[in-house]
C-alpha cells in the first residue's frame, strides 16, 4: 500500500507538472517530431495515427476493464485472430452484417469462457494469468484450424471494407467507432453498477462479496466485455486490411496491457480509467508514427521507444503520488 511517508509542500507549478506528467511527455514528443519533420503535424498524418490505433485501441479498452478488476487477459490476441477469420469466412455465406454479429458473438463467447474458468479457479491474478494463457494457446490454434493456416481475403466485400477504410467527412469510421467505444467505456465505468463493482473487484473482492454483491457474475461479465471489445477490434482491423490472418493478433495483448499501464492504470486493479488508456494508446501510436516519419530505423526505434516509455512513467509515477495527496484533499 502506497507511500506512507508523504508530505513536504509542493509548489503549484510542480503539482501541475506532476499531475499531467505523461501529457507533457506526449506534448514534447509531438513538438520535437513536428520540428524535425514538418509532415508530422499535418492533418492527414494525425488522421493516420488515429486510424492506426483505433483497432488495437479497442483491445486496450477491453483490457482496461480486465485490469481494473484485478485480472489480466493474455488471450486477446488469439481471440482477435479467431474473430477476424470467422468474420471474413462468414461474409460470403451470410452477408456482412450477420457475419459481423457472428464474429462479435464469438468474441463474447470466448470472453465469457475466460470469465467462467477464471471465476471457477478463484478469480485471482494468478488464475487469470494461467487460464488466459491456456486459452490463448487453444484459441490461437483454433483460428489456424479454421483457415488451415492460410490468410482469408476480404478484398471483394466492399461493404465490409467500408468500415475500416471509409470515412464520414474526413473522419475515418474506425476512429468514430473508437471514440464512441472510449466514451461508452468511460461512461460504464463511472456511471453504472457494473463499472463501480468492477473497481471493487480489483480492490477487495471479499469485502465486495460480503456486501451482498454477486462477485462471480460481475467477474465473468468483465471478461465478456473484454471479449466483445476484442471482437470489435478484430472486425475493424480485418476490414481495414481487407483480409484476415489466423495469426494477426499475435502479441497484441501485450501491446494492450502496455498501453493500459502506460496510461496510468495500475496492474493489480482498483483504479484506472478508459480515458487514461487512451493516453497510453495515443502515446504508443504517436511515438511509432513520429519515429517512422522522422526516418529512424526500425532497430533504433526500439531503443528510443524503451527510453521514452521509461521517462513517461517516471514523470507519471510522480503524478500518481501527487494525485493521492490531491484526492485526500478534495472536498
Amino acid at each position: 500500500m502506497g507511500e506512507k511517508t508523504v508530505s513536504k509542500k509542493r509548489g503549484k507549478f510542480d503539482l501541475i507538472i506532476s499531475k499531467y506528467g505523461i501529457l507533457f511527455v506526449l506534448a514534447a514528443i509531438i513538438i520535437v517530431a513536428g520540428i524535425i519533420s514538418p509532415a508530422f503535424l499535418t492533418g492527414q498524418n494525425i488522421l493516420n495515427i488515429l486510424k492506426q490505433v483505433s483497432a488495437t485501441g479497442m483491445l486496450a479498452i477491453g483490457m482496461t476493464f480486465v485490469i481494473i478488476s484485478g485480472g489480466v487477459d493474455l488471450s486477446m490476441g488469439s481471440i482477435l485472430s479467431l474473430c477476424g477469420v470467422v468474420c471474413v469466412i462468414m461474409i460470403p455465406l451470410v452477408g456482412t452484417p450477420l457475419a459481423i454479429l457472428i464474429a462479435l458473438a464469438v468474441g463474447v463467447v470466448c470472453g465469457t469462457l475466460n470469465g467462467i474458468f477464471i471465476t471457477l479457479t478463484g478469480g485471482t491474478m494468478g488464475s487469470a494469468f494461467i487460464i488466459t494463457f491456456g486459452m490463448a494457446t487453444a484459441l490461437g490454434s483454433l483460428a489456424l484450424t479454421v483457415t488451415n493456416g492460410a490468410n482469408v481475403n476480404a478484398a471483394a466485400f466492399a461493404d465490409f471494407k467500408e468500415i475500416g477504410q471509409g470515412s464520414w467527412g474526413i473522419v475515418p469510421i474506425t476512429v468514430v467507432i473508437f471514440v464512441v467505444a472510449v466514451i461508452a467505456a468511460q461512461f460504464v465505468l463511472r456511471k453504472t453498477t457494473f463499472g463501480r463493482i468492477n473497481y471493487c473487484l480489483g480492490i477487495n473482492d471479499e469485502a465486495t462479496h460480503l456486501s451482498g454483491i454477486k462477485v462471480k457474475k460481475f467477474r465473468v461479465l468483465v471478461y465478456t466485455v473484454a471479449g466483445l471489445f476484442t471482437a470489435l477490434g478484430a472486425v475493424m482491423l480485418c476490414s481495414r486490411v481487407s483480409s484476415a490472418s489466423p495469426i494477426q493478433g499475435e502479441g497484441y495483448e501485450l501491446d494492450a496491457i502496455a498501453a493500459v499501464v502506460l496510461g496510468g492504470t495500475r496492474m493489480g486493479g482498483g483504479s484506472g480509467s478508459a480515458a487514461k488508456t487512451v493516453i497510453g494508446v495515443l502515446m504508443f501510436g504517436i511515438l511509432t508514427n513520429a519515429l517512422n516519419v522522422m526516418g529512424v530505423s526500425s532497430y533504433q526505434q526500439m531503443i528510443v521507444k524503451g527510453i521514452i516509455i521509461m521517462v513517461a512513467v517516471l514523470m507519471d509515477k510522480r503524478s500518481i503520488r501527487v494525485e493521492n495527496e490531491m484526492l485526500a484533499r478534495t472536498v
Binding site: 511517508t5 508523504v6 453504472t192 453498477t193 462479496h209 451482498g212 454483491i213 482498483g270 485526500a328 484533499r329
Partner: protein, 487 residues
C-alpha cells in the same frame, strides 16, 4: 517528545504535542477516534516523520527516521492494524527481519523453539508453525504481542491491543503488562476500554483533536473525568436506556452446522430485540453468523424468516432477505480501502443512489454519505476522503454506515464497537436502540463484557461451536456469562 506537529493533507493530526512518559510506568493514552494517538505513536516508531518536534529517550535526543532506528533505540510497537505477513508462519512473523541473527543461514529448529518459549512465557497456546492467514483475529493479535515482546525493548507501545481480545486473552495481556512493569519497562497503552486503564495504568494522557488536554495520575481521576476530557463534554451514562418493545419471532435458526466449528446451533430472534452472543475467542460466533449471512454454506440446519423457510446461499440473497452483517475484520472484509467514504457506503444498495436510467448519481451518493457522516460523527476532511486514510475508529463507523444504508431488518453486528471511542460508542448504542425501536432486530456479538450485558435483551453463550447457555433477564450477569463461556 517535544512540540511534535504532524499534518496530513486536510488534517492537522498533531498540533504541537509535548508528551512525556516516565521510566517503568504504564502510561495510558486516550482520546477520541482520530485524535492522533496512533499518529503520535507512529512518529515515535519512525513510520511517519514529524513535520516538527524532537524526541528524547532517557534524556538523549534521538533521531528516528524509520522503524529500524526505533528498534535500535529500544522502542517496539504493537500496531493498531495488523502488521503481519499472512503467508508466513507465526514464528517467522515474530522474528521477521531478524531471522538467524547475524548468521546468513537460518536454524529453523531454534527459531521455532524460541518462538514456542516466548509464547509459553506469555502463557499462550499457539502453534508457532501455523501460517498467520489461518489464525483468528485474536490469535493474530497475540502474535503481534509476542512479536513486540521479542525485542529487548525499553519502551513498548501498545495501540489498542485489547480491541480484539476476549477476557481470557485480556487477562494474559494484563499479566504481561504487570510483568513488564516489574522489569522496569515502560509501556504506552492505548485503549478505548477505559476500565482497563484503571486496572493496569499508572498515568493517563488525554489527546483531543491533535492536542494534549491533560496528563494525570490514574489514581486521581475517575472515569467520568477522563471521558469529559476526551469528548469535551459530560457523558452522564455509558449505555443509553431504552424501552423494550419485543415482538414476534422474526428469525429462527435450527440445528445449524458446519464442520466442527458450528455444531447444532439453534436460536430465535424476535422483532425489536437485541440478542447478544457471548463466548471466548474462537467459540464459533463469527462462523455461525457467516452461515446466516450465506458467506459460508451450512452442512446441516435450516433458517426460518417470519415463519417461512429460506435458503440463503450467498450474501446477495441474505441482503435480499433483509439481513446485514457487519464483519469483524473491517479491513479485509468490510471496506474497500482505496475507495472514498461515499462509494463504500453506497455499495450495498447502489440502486438507492441511482437516478433515472439506472445511472449512478454522484450527488445523491454524496448526500447520502453526508447524512451518515454527520450523524455518526465520522471524522475526516470530507466524504470523498479515501477510507485508507481514516483512523481505525472512523473506518469502523464507515462500515456501520454502510450497513445502515442497506435498510435491513436484521442486523448482525460482529464486534461493532471494536476500536471505537466512548463518545462514538454511545452514539452507536443510541443507534442500535433506535433500530430496535423501529422494530428491527439486532444480533450483537461482543467480547466486551459490559457492553454485551448492558445492551442485550437476551444472551446466548457459545463454547466450542455449540450454544451452551441462554441467559434471560436476571440471569444476565458477568459471572454467569463467564461461567458458561469457560464451561
Amino acid at each position: 517528545m517535544k512540540h511534535i506537529s504532524k499534518s496530513f493533507p486536510g488534517v492537522m493530526a498533531l498540533d504541537d504535542v509535548t508528551f512525556s512518559v516516565g521510566e517503568g510506568e504504564v502510561h495510558a493514552l486516550v482520546g477520541e477516534n482520530g485524535a492522533g494517538k496512533s499518529t503520535l505513536m507512529k512518529i515515535i516508531n519512525g513510520v511517519y516523520s514529524a513535520d516538527q518536534g524532537e524526541i528524547y529517550i532517557s534524556g538523549k535526543k534521538v533521531s528516528i527516521k524509520n522503524p529500524l532506528d526505533a528498534q535500535r533505540n529500544g522502542v517496539s510497537i504493537i500496531f493498531q492494524e495488523f502488521n503481519l505477513v499472512d503467508t508466513l508462519s507465526v514464528a517467522e512473523n515474530i522474528f521477521i527481519g531478524r531471522l538467524g541473527g547475524k548468521k546468513k543461514m537460518i536454524d529453523w529448529k531454534s527459531i521455532y523453539k524460541e518462538a514456542e518459549k516466548l509464547l509459553k512465557s506469555l502463557n499462550y497456546d499457539l502453534d508457532p508453525r501455523a501460517a498467520v492467514e489461518t489464525l483468528s483475529v485474536a490469535q493474530m493479535q497475540m502474535t503481534e504481542i509476542a512479536k513486540a515482546m521479542s525485542f529487548d525493548a525499553k519502551i513498548i507501545i501498545m495501540d489498542e491491543p485489547s480491541a480484539v481480545l476476549t477476557d481470557n486473552e485480556l487477562k494474559k495481556l494484563f499479566d504481561i503488562v504487570e510483568d513488564l512493569k516489574k522489569r522496569g519497562i515502560t509501556v504506552i497503552y492505548i485503549s478505548h476500554r477505559l476500565e482497563e486503564i484503571f486496572q493496569i495504568c499508572d498515568k493517563v494522557t488525554v489527546l483531543r483533536d491533535g492536542k494534549i488536554i491533560d496528563t494525570g495520575n490514574v489514581e486521581d481521576l475517575n472515569k467520568e473525568q477522563i471521558i469529559e476530557m476526551m469528548v469535551g463534554r459530560k457523558l452522564d451514562q455509558e449505555f443509553p436506556k431504552r424501552e423494550k418493545k419485543i415482538g414476534d419471532v422474526i428469525l429462527r435458526a435450527k440445528g445449524l452446522r458446519r464442520g466442527d466449528r458450528v455444531q447444532d446451533v439453534s436460536f430465535e430472534l424476535r422483532r425489536g430485540e437485541i440478542l447478544g452472543f457471548a463466548g471466548l475467542v474462537g467459540a464459533g460466533r463469527t462462523e455461525t453468523m457467516r452461515l446466516l449471512f450465506g458467506a459460508d454454506q451450512m452442512t446441516a440446519g435450516s433458517i426460518e424468516l417470519n415463519g417461512k423457510q429460506v435458503h440463503i446461499k450467498s450474501p446477495m440473497e441474505a441482503k435480499g432477505e433483509g439481513i446485514a452483517l457487519l464483519p469483524e475484520d473491517r479491513k479485509k472484509q468490510g471496506l474497500l480501502l482505496e475507495l472514498p467514504i461515499t462509494e463504500n457506503i453506497s455499495l450495498v444498495k447502489l440502486k438507492k443512489v441511482m437516478s433515472k436510467g439506472n445511472l449512478i448519481n454522484k450527488k445523491k451518493e454524496k448526500d447520502v454519505a453526508k447524512g451518515y457522516f454527520d450523524s455518526l460523527k465520522i471524522k475526516a476532511p470530507s466524504v470523498t476522503q479515501r477510507v485508507y486514510f481514516l483512523s481505525g475508529g472512523n473506518q469502523q463507523k464507515v462500515v456501520i454506515a454502510k450497513w445502515l444504508f442497506s435498510d435491513a431488518d436484521i442486523f448482525i453486528l460482529d464486534e461493532p464497537t471494536r476500536g471505537i471511542d466512548v463518545g462514538a460508542k454511545y452514539e452507536i448504542y443510541m443507534l442500535m436502540n433506535e433500530l430496535v425501536a423501529q422494530g428491527k432486530s439486532i444480533i450483537l456479538i461482543s467480547s466486551e463484557m459490559n457492553e454485551i450485558i448492558a445492551m442485550s435483551d437476551r444472551i446466548m453463550v457459545m463454547h466450542d461451536g455449540k450454544i451452551c447457555a441462554e441467559l434471560n433477564g436476571e440471569e444476565i450477569t458477568p459471572e454467569n456469562v463467564l461461567k458458561h463461556a469457560i464451561n
